[in-house]
Amino acid sequence: MGTFRYVMRDTWRLLSRHSGLSLLTIITSVAVFFLVGASILFVLNTRYLVEAVEGDLTVQAYVRDSQEALEVVARKASSYDSVSSVRVVTSGEALERLKARLGKLAEAVTLLDENPLPPSVEIQVKKASFATVIARELIAMPEVEEVVYAGTVAERLQKISHFVARLSIVVLVVSLASAALVLFNTIRIGVFARKEEISKMLLVGASRTFVVFPYVLQGVILGTAGAALSVLLLWFSYGMAITALERSLPFLRLLTDRIIVLRVGAVLVLAGVSVGWICSWLAASRFVRQASRSI
């Protein structure tokens, strides 16, 4: 088709004529989509962490350091129906556990000459929702110094995750708006540079849609290229970030499967296509409508 070939050639002409501008636009959208993608991944990870913690059925009661007190608390805990198991964890055991969790970093712990970890009673509840009740009962006992259960941790994490989510919406809006603006202007420059050609096309009977098409394609290509490159960048940097975090904070449960990057990436590319499409359509069609008006 002559039309198809024309559109392809014309789009290529647009991209290469203003190649510096095209490059700048792509770089901007890469930065924007990377930022957006990174904040989405961050939010997803904190959510995942919160969920993992929330699902934890363990209530840990730290007790004044006496065998007697430990037994009193353990007995009291066993008396509840909602509790499935109770275990006493000594200071030594706690230290061993920490070492196992820390992995390579465990050596750091062995440098301590005195064991700083208190003994505790570890209680498994039958359902996560029972944890709060049990915790409240236990903290009321004089022997118990502190109760730590998923709820408290989850609450704190939840706060952070809410904050991050809200922040990332702001990031999303601001950065997408700036990407849109840059794209819009790039297309407009292309349109203005070819005013004459556009009025010519309209005068020989090209439809408005046809005139606008190469510009829309230009916008879609720039937007998509930016988004796709940012996904590539995210893929590698996410891998590196996860590896680094696993080495230094091995107890953190993260979304280590990089399939998540692809999922987020698909959303980003879709956003790139839409932003490119909408911006270039707006930039070009308004001008073309004006140009085709008879005076």
């Binding site: 088709m1 002559g2 039309t3 070939r5 024309y6 002409r13 004459e196 050609e197 010519k200 096309m201 309209l202 005068l203 020989v204 009977g205 090209a206 439809s207 408005r208 046809f210 005139v211 085709s292 008879s294 005076i295």
Partner: protein, 231 residues
């Protein structure tokens, strides 16, 4: 397609009346010269036919359609039937001769096979084959003129509007251009040629329409550039 002006007035600013109260019918297949001093409204009249301009008063119809009322996509179709040779050529400077002529076909969706064939035909017919890969600025005025004509006839329009098609051309080249326009007219295309060229009007006698200060002052079959004794 028949072109009809019914009481057309075109006013630009409150004090610039480019055309006033024009009544005019041009039949299908006619050859018409549009003459008159500079500023008399010739270009304005042509631009009303393509609806680059709309009348301030009155009605322009092309093939029974009031073109003021036409929807934008139908306007595109109408324009595909009208070839225009602009007074200032308006070739696209970034496209070669070949591309300038191919372009107007591509934008209306002619298949690439046909574009190639028709463009080559036109280049041949206008003697531009050897110049096909040059850019407009590398061409002489007469050659640019021919490219402009080639572009206007590439889509085999039923109406051809030529604004000063022999401006800046010597007599021999003007003759060539006229032969070309006559042959296009002979194949059934309606032609309106706006011109200051007394030589062509008097050598190739056709209907003459004369404008003065926006008014139609003469409409003569087989007319001359000037009325006898008028200087």
């Amino acid at each position: 397609m028949e072109i009809r002006f019914a009481g057309v007035t075109k006013q630009f600013l409150p004090d610039i009346v480019a055309l006033q109260d024009i009544f005019l019918t041009i039949e299908k297949g006619e050859f018409v010269y549009l003459v008159g001093p500079t500023g008399s409204g010739k270009t304005t009249l042509l631009r009303l036919v393509t609806r680059e301009l709309v009348p301030t008063k009155g009605r322009v119809t092309v093939g029974d359609v009031n073109i003021r009322k036409i929807a934008s996509h139908n306007l595109a179709y109408l324009r595909r039937n009208i070839g225009v040779v602009f007074q200032d050529f308006r070739l696209l400077p970034d496209l070669t001769v070949y591309e300038n002529i191919a372009f107007v076909q591509e934008v209306i969706g002619v298949s690439s096979h046909d574009v190639q064939k028709r463009t080559n035909d036109v280049l041949d017919r206008l003697g531009l084959w050897r110049r096909r890969s040059l850019f407009p600025e590398q061409l002489s005025g007469g050659e640019q003129q021919r490219v402009a004509i080639g572009r206007a006839i590439a889509n085999s329009p039923s109406i051809l509007l030529a604004d000063e098609p022999t401006g800046n051309l010597d007599i021999d080249t003007a003759d060539e251009i006229m032969q070309l326009l006559l042959s296009i007219n002979a194949s059934g295309t309606t032609l309106i040629v706006a011109t200051h060229n007394q030589y062509i009007v008097d050598s190739y006698r056709q209907r003459v329409i004369e404008l003065r200060k926006g008014r139609l002052v003469r409409d003569e079959k087989k007319g001359r550039y000037r009325v006898d004794g008028d200087f």
